[in-house]
Symmetry: C2
DNA sequence: CGGGGAATTGAGAGGGATCAAAAAGGGTGG
DNA sequence: CCACCCTTTTTGATCCCTCTCAATTCCCCG
């Protein structure tokens, strides 16, 4: 597997991501151990594993999850290109979460102590790590609001919009008319929204019949975003702000 | 209001918190603007407010929350002494959360740019901020698992244990036989667990009749922690690991 | 002693869960 | 190109956990 040099990292080219200084880039390059590919459905981090490496998701989708001992599973959030993975591990008393690839995935691999080296070597990169961690927490916050207080219909609408936006942001901000890639199965959606598979399906069909979304060939389109946003009681401007990359 | 010098901070004395170097302490002291007291029920951060200051919770309990436009409210997590508040604000497209004092509360106040100054001035403090942020995220993760996949009974049990542990950790790790302070009302619990007030009450009564917890004089006791843990399907060792403080 | 928030409790309704099947897709080896 | 198998999507019938609504009771405090 040929590891892309950071300087040629395809993600850096996207307007979604903030630029790096030369020093920052050099440090990241220095700390990067290798690249890793994981097949769809395979684990990137095994649940309960204490000490793990860190990753930056280069390409593909993945998800973080936790399970109860009887098998009930909750997806905590989805991971897209640019997401930094593994910071939460080991900083908690509670059992850690697992990470599984949703599509075939490519990742940059860092040793765990890269977390400290980033802070020490380039405080601005430390700040970026904090930024990414805080940002991910706010995604989880949103999910928590959904699970706690939104109806099934509202939850599905919220998830569709938020995921659409994230996927679109990686596509130069707008989709090309054919929608954005959407590799999430109904089972995944159900696990993320705290619903049963059957009811997730029924809810999805209802929204589809109302013309609120279209899913074909693994691509998602939202014909009437306004209506969906109203249903979801969502706010926040259209384009997400540029974000740091590690 | 007489601001305690950081060097005399009562929290530093607790075994729960990791020690600081002199330089770290000096930096924090330098960045600390003042101390602030907030009455129970009053806002520390108003929901939706974009740019805000940062706080360290010195004393008392508070909570983070979000609401939908029709008033439905979700508590994201509870904040106890030592928690660092406000990092997530402004790092997200989504609307920010609010923070309200649950008891009378005392806080250290920092300007927002202290976040960057901490990273720049003492990378180890930057690392601590990352640690605290990641740790808080894992608390939210746990809540998300509860809301998504646990029954009402399991949720209440989980919340009781987790809050008990956090409160006890501030009490030198063990309670003194009279239990730990527990200022959370049933309404708060309901809002945190995604349940209605009425059903939260019914569930609580059921657990109480089974002798799984006792609440008197605002103090919580868990007569049979093992049984509660079994109910909650919780794992993780007893004492939480020492944590950094800002 | 009065007043207001918090805790309790009961009756009735309903949103989602469960269980069970059938229908669609999508590879893939022959 | 077809038969076959496995995953994903749909749909129907039925059940029950939890919500809503409405009173009461309790408790703290001025």
């Amino acid at each position: 597997m040929d590891a892309t040099p950071c300087i040629d990292c395809p993600l850096r080219a996207l307007p979604l991501f903030l630029p790096h200084t030369e020093e920052e880039l050099a440090l990241v390059q220095f700390l990067k151990r290798r690249e890793l590919s994981v097949d769809a459905g395979e684990a990137v981090i095994h649940e309960g594993q204490g000490e793990t490496r860190l990753f930056t998701l280069l390409e593909g989708w993945a998800y973080r999850f936790k399970t109860l001992s009887d098998g009930r599973r909750q997806i905590l959030n989805f991971l897209l290109a640019g997401d930094f993975i593994g910071v939460q591990q080991k900083m908690s008393d509670a059992a850690a979460h697992g990470v599984v690839a949703l599509t075939p995935v490519r990742l940059c691999v860092f040793d765990r102590d890269a977390l400290w080296e980033l802070h020490r070597g380039q405080p601005s990169m430390g700040f970026n790590v904090t930024w990414l961690t805080a940002h991910e927490e706010s995604l989880v916050d949103d999910n928590l609001l959904s699970l706690g207080r939104r109806s099934a219909e509202e939850r599905v609408a919220t998830a569709l919009i938020l995921l659409y936006k994230r996927a679109a942001a990686l596509r130069h901000g707008a989709d090309d008319g054919r929608g954005v890639p959407f590799p999430v199965t109904q089972q995944h959606l159900a696990d993320a929204l705290g619903l049963s598979l059957a009811y997730t399906n029924k809810t999805l069909r209802k929204l589809e019949r109302r013309g609120l979304y279209r899913l074909a060939d693994g691509r998602l389109t939202l014909p009437d975003p306004k209506a969906l946003v109203r249903l979801a009681d969502l706010y926040g401007d259209g384009r997400p702000p540029p974000r740091p990359l590690v």
